[in-house]
Amino acid sequence: MAVATAQMSEPNSEVLVDFNNVTYSFDATGSPVISNLNLSVARGETLVLLGESGCGKTTTLKLTNRLLLPDSGEVLVEGRATTLWDPIRLRRRTGYVIQEGGLFPHFTVERNIGLVPKLDHWEPARIRARVHELLALVGLEPLTFAQRYPAELSGGQRQRVGVARALAAEPPLLLLDEPFGALDPLTRASLQQEFALLTKRLNKTSIFVTHDLHEALMLGSRIGLMKAGRLLLLETPADFLNSTNEYARAYLDTLQLHESGTNSPERRL
């Protein structure tokens, strides 16, 4: 099948992240985790990478903020190859949200959220104002939560703080690695909805990794289906639902089975 993106040879201001023929393997002898990946992420879109564990979707995220470097091909961020970026600078311009939030247990909520602004030497007063603004944005009462430690929060609250931390220094790009994977279904559903509203409101560009088709359909402006290090399909949610791709159909079958069999909140989809 055809890969849905065109190759970009000149910098395009509409394209924020661009994977060109990227291959990556963990060690020289093993089979590649990512093979010949071509993918463009446009400004303002939420690109969801969907696939089973080990399909290479997390590796794709790590290649984006230079936690990993490609074996061949190149990853362009804002038109510049990651190999040419100062890794520290690139990462501070890229929000990163992981499962369970990855919050620092010895920092208060305020210090966690204010981390990157502090690393970038913002004024303390400005950091504080920003933290309170973000807490309100992710639905946490600033005065109640700013001085708490992560251990004093519920899973959903921790995840909200994780999102707030990623947004703190107003990065142009957000990377989210199954951020809602460890939450209970009710909390997950409400966070998904809020996140959808938030990205729309802030007009953020994000790459969102998940193995949950519901989540992909709900949040993605486009869905990239990955299997064994390859991008099989890149479609809008509407086109994805009508895809004839065998693997995509297998995913969609589980959806129908799921919907007819249970009474889960995802029915709202």
Partner: protein
């Protein structure tokens, strides 16, 4: 003498020993932390180094402490006699728990947290100081705490290399069978270990992430941290002040350091020379050392003289086969010491401290025993107890058993020499090899059997003196000649007895004796 009156009489000495002890412990643990934590951090970065380095640290910790002190003595710069050697050995012991806990603490940090730190764009240095060290702090502190408690214990052995500390009382107490001394050394050491443990426990809890949950804890935490830091500073500060004030008191070139081995008789003989020197206005420092350390210390110039026995010099130091002629042994030792070491052997003091084969007086009477060869038929039903020295030396147990054809019921118990007397008196063993001048022989109702096959070589007491020390302090020669043939075996036994059984300080016993002998 009651324990309390002992304490009040020896308060200032005890305080000095506690200070020395504390100083050794604090300095060595701080050094070990300064070395160990960076090594631990390095090991979290270089996986290939982790196994070998932890392996080496592990092996170092299994070296028995006394043996480690022994290894260190001949090594230049880090070795020798005194506090420096002790600190090196203590650091070696303290390293393992600190390195291991640093590695465990940092590698034990939640991978998500570490990954988040990298992804946020923190530099390696920021991750180390803001994430890894704070999160590993309580585990690292546990390592420091273990190291500190180990140090308090091992430091008691540092007394054997002349580093001072509470071990001085413990060794002396063992030797003199004096519970007051033992307790005065052991109780403060134990209290110190407990205090160190609980103080660091407090600090450790204050650093642990769990403690951050309660806001009310924060004040307490700050107070605890402040107390720990204040105490550490105080201990280090005090010990430095203490050393400075002591070293300022030191004189220049007429000062002599009189060494001794770590048993009463040697201490008394050293004290005799020391007091005679002091009466002639020579400033003297006394240094008590274990095993054959005095010989090494003499060679290296750390001490100027010490009392030795010709037989020991002949066999243990010059490695000759034992012979029985006292005159020949003395001449040979004198000649070889001068030629090989540049050390003078003073004239014999008049008594011998040879091995004395001892049994209980009751057994001797019942079986009518007078000589060692008469023991041979009973040996198969007897147990023997010998000091470590006797078990290993050329003129010791193996040759002795062969000469008298002795087969004991079991392998002889190898134990501390001073404990063998008590073991014999209380019936735990039936025969020991003691010292002929031991003061407690009569007191404990023991009898010496005659060496009828002349197995034991002669052990005349003499002083070993560095040639340059004699040239520097002229009065030494006069003192040595005045002491020639001055002390009989009976007299030496009495002097030993006054200290060991009479529980009187050696300095006092020696002062009396010098007065009586008008020396």
């Amino acid at each position: 003498m009651s324990f309390w009156s002992f304490l009040s009489q020896n308060r200032s000495e005890l305080l000095t020993l506690i200070t020395q002890h504390l100083r050794l412990v604090v300095i060595s643990t701080l050094l070990a932390a300064l070395i160990g934590i960076p090594i631990g951090i390095l090991l979290t970065r270089r996986q290939a180094l982790r196994k070998p380095v932890l392996g080496i640290a592990n092996v170092m910790q299994t070296i028995p402490s006394l043996a480690l002190f022994g290894f260190l003595i001949p090594i230049p710069f880090i070795g020798g006699i005194g506090a420096r050697t002790a600190i090196v050995a203590l650091v070696v012991y303290a390293l393992l728990p600190i390195i291991r806990n640093t590695v465990t603490g940092i590698l034990g940090i939640d991978q998500n947290v570490h990954q988040a730190a990298v992804a946020m764009g923190m530099t390696a240095r920021q991750i180390l100081w803001q994430v890894e060290l704070p999160l590993a702090a309580s585990v690292i502190l546990t390592g420091v705490r273990v190291a500190l408690v180990i140090s308090v214990g091992v430091t008691t052995i540092a007394a054997a290399v002349g580093a001072g500390g509470l071990g001085v009382y413990i060794f002396r107490g063992l030797r003199q069978y004096d519970n007051n001394l033992l307790l005065a050394g052991a109780i403060p050491a134990a209290l110190m270990a407990l205090a160190a443990d609980s103080l660091l426990g407090l600090a450790e809890r204050s650093f642990s992430v769990g403690a951050k949950r309660q806001k009310a804890n924060r004040m307490l935490r700050r107070v605890a941290r402040a107390i720990v830091i204040a105490l550490l500073l105080l201990a280090v500060g005090f010990s430095f002040w203490h050393t400075r004030s002591r070293s300022r008191a030191r004189g220049a070139d007429t000062r002599l350091i009189v060494g001794s081995k770590d048993f009463t008789e040697s201490v008394l003989l050293a004290e005799i020379v020391a007091q005679m020197l002091e009466r002639r206005s020579v400033e003297v420092e006394r240094l008590e050392l274990g095993g054959n350390l005095p010989h090494d210390a003499l060679l290296s110039g750390r001490i100027d003289l010490y009392p030795e026995y010709t037989g020991t010099a002949y066999t243990a130091i010059l490695h000759h086969q034992p012979i029985t002629d006292p005159r020949a042994v003395y001449e040979q030792v004198k000649q070889e010491y001068a030629a090989r070491f540049g050390i003078e052997v003073g004239p014999p003091l008049g008594f011998e401290n040879t091995f004395a084969i001892l049994v209980r007086a009751a057994d001797a009477a019942r079986l009518n025993l007078k000589t060692i060869s008469e023991v041979t038929p009973y040996a198969s039903g007897w147990r023997a107890g010998f000091g470590q020295d006797f078990m290993s030396r050329a003129d010791g147990y193996p040759g002795f058993a062969k000469a008298y054809d002795l087969q004991f019921a079991e392998q002889p118990h190898e134990m501390d020499l001073s404990l063998t007397y008590i073991a014999l008196a209380s019936g735990k063993v039936d025969l020991i090899a003691g010292n002929s001048t031991e003061g407690r022989i009569a007191a404990l109702n023991l009898v010496q059997l005659e060496d009828d096959r002349h197995y034991f070589p002669p052990y005349q007491a003499v002083y070993m003196i560095r040639r340059d020390s004699i040239e520097r302090v002229e009065v030494l020669r006069e003192i040595l000649s005045r002491l020639a043939n001055r002390i009989s075996t009976e007299e030496m036994r009495q002097l030993n007895y006054n200290v060991d059984a009479g529980k009187r300080p050696p300095s006092e016993v020696v002062r009396e004796w010098l007065k009586r002998e008008s020396l």
